[in-house]
């Protein structure tokens, strides 16, 4: 049971999961600075709740669950802003990321951007973060059969979007 009093164990968890959690946030939000904020919030919360965990796997799942909830809040806030009239919000986000990364990153960004959030999150957790179905189900607060079905639909949808964007290359 981790107790982060002396910081050693916290630093170990941080170093072990920071890249994965950042990758997840960055890809689901498509905007690095928002991902930065979410990752900081998530690890500060981890530090605050440190003593309540039972083992490493529960920390891993907790981190992704927490990151996912925070990302969904950011996406919700963004859509509120867009509804209020800031139409260029989404376009700017995509442009920033596209110019910062190479071609394959830009392809990924464009593809994920067109995928519904419910499919994007499950696909990223599986393909980008290599979580198994049980871990994904826990992080998304659902069941393993639901994860299996949602992943299939996400792949199917992603394939369609890929073809639409890039043809059969």
């Amino acid at each position: 049971m981790p107790d982060f009093g002396n910081g050693k164990e916290f630093t170990e968890f941080y170093n072990q999961y920071k890249a994965g959690v950042y990758r997840f946030c960055c890809r689901i939000l498509n905007r690095p600075e928002d991902a930065n904020d979410v990752v900081q919030d998530v690890f500060i919360k981890l530090y605050e709740q440190g003593v309540r965990f039972n083992g490493e796997s529960s920390v891993k799942v907790w981190l992704y669950k927490s990151a996912r909830n925070k990302c969904l809040n950011v996406i919700r806030d963004r859509s509120k802003l867009t509804n209020l009239g800031s139409d260029d919000d989404k376009t700017i986000a995509t442009d920033i990321v596209s110019s910062d990364y190479d071609d394959s990153a830009a392809m990924v960004t464009r593809l994920l951007d067109q995928l519904a959030v419910e499919y994007r999150e499950v696909l990223i957790l599986r393909e980008w973060n290599d979580l198994n179905y049980e871990e994904i189900a826990a992080a998304l607060e659902t069941t393993v059969p639901a994860v299996k079905s949602r992943l299939f639909k996400a792949r199917k949808k992603a394939g369609e979007i890929y073809r639409k964007l890039y043809g059969d290359e």
């Binding site: 950042y22 990752v39 900081q40 690890f43 500060i44 530090y47 990924v108 179905y133 299939f152 792949r155």
Partner: protein
């Protein structure tokens, strides 16, 4: 077997989450179905795209997540003593009961004190019956006739 069922199994097969028995039938279908082959190829393409995708971790984040900074940020919350809810409820009930008891005691004492002060100058007498009654003595003002 429907294409959607086959593709769901193929998707789980790619993730090592499908049993061999379940996948055999789906693989049999795959060889003869171009739709399912497309789905399978797309899924593999997507995986290779995801694996090639480099998301660089921002170096500034490590600085912001320095343990000392975090400790300072959460200092107050970290050392807050957590008391279970039931202990808090019991404590609240006890406090309310105590405050009532204390209130009655103080009020009783004050009333008794006030009464005894009053009684010193009050010539009458209180009879503690139900209801309490005050008996006034006959005041002797020198002669019997005047008193009446």
């Amino acid at each position: 077997m429907k294409c959607d069922d086959v593709q769901e199994r193929l998707s789980a097969f790619l993730d090592n989450e499908e049993s061999t028995d379940e996948i055999e039938e789906a693989l049999g279908h795959l060889y003869g179905c171009s739709d399912c082959q497309s789905f399978f190829n797309d899924s593999i393409k997507l995986r290779s795209l995801a694996h090639k995708d480099q998301v660089d971790f921002p170096p500034g984040l490590d600085e912001a997540m320095n343990f000392r900074t975090i400790k300072a940020k959460c200092g107050i919350a970290r050392y807050r003593v957590k008391v279970p809810a039931y202990v808090l409820s019991i404590a609240a009930v006890v406090l309310i009961a105590l405050s009532f008891t204390f209130g009655f005691m103080v009020q009783g004492n004050v009333q008794r004190k006030e009464m005894s002060e009053l009684m010193k100058s009050f010539p009458g007498q209180v009879v503690y019956s139900m209801p309490p009654q005050v008996v006034y003595p006959v005041i002797d003002r020198g002669s019997k006739g005047e008193a009446r």
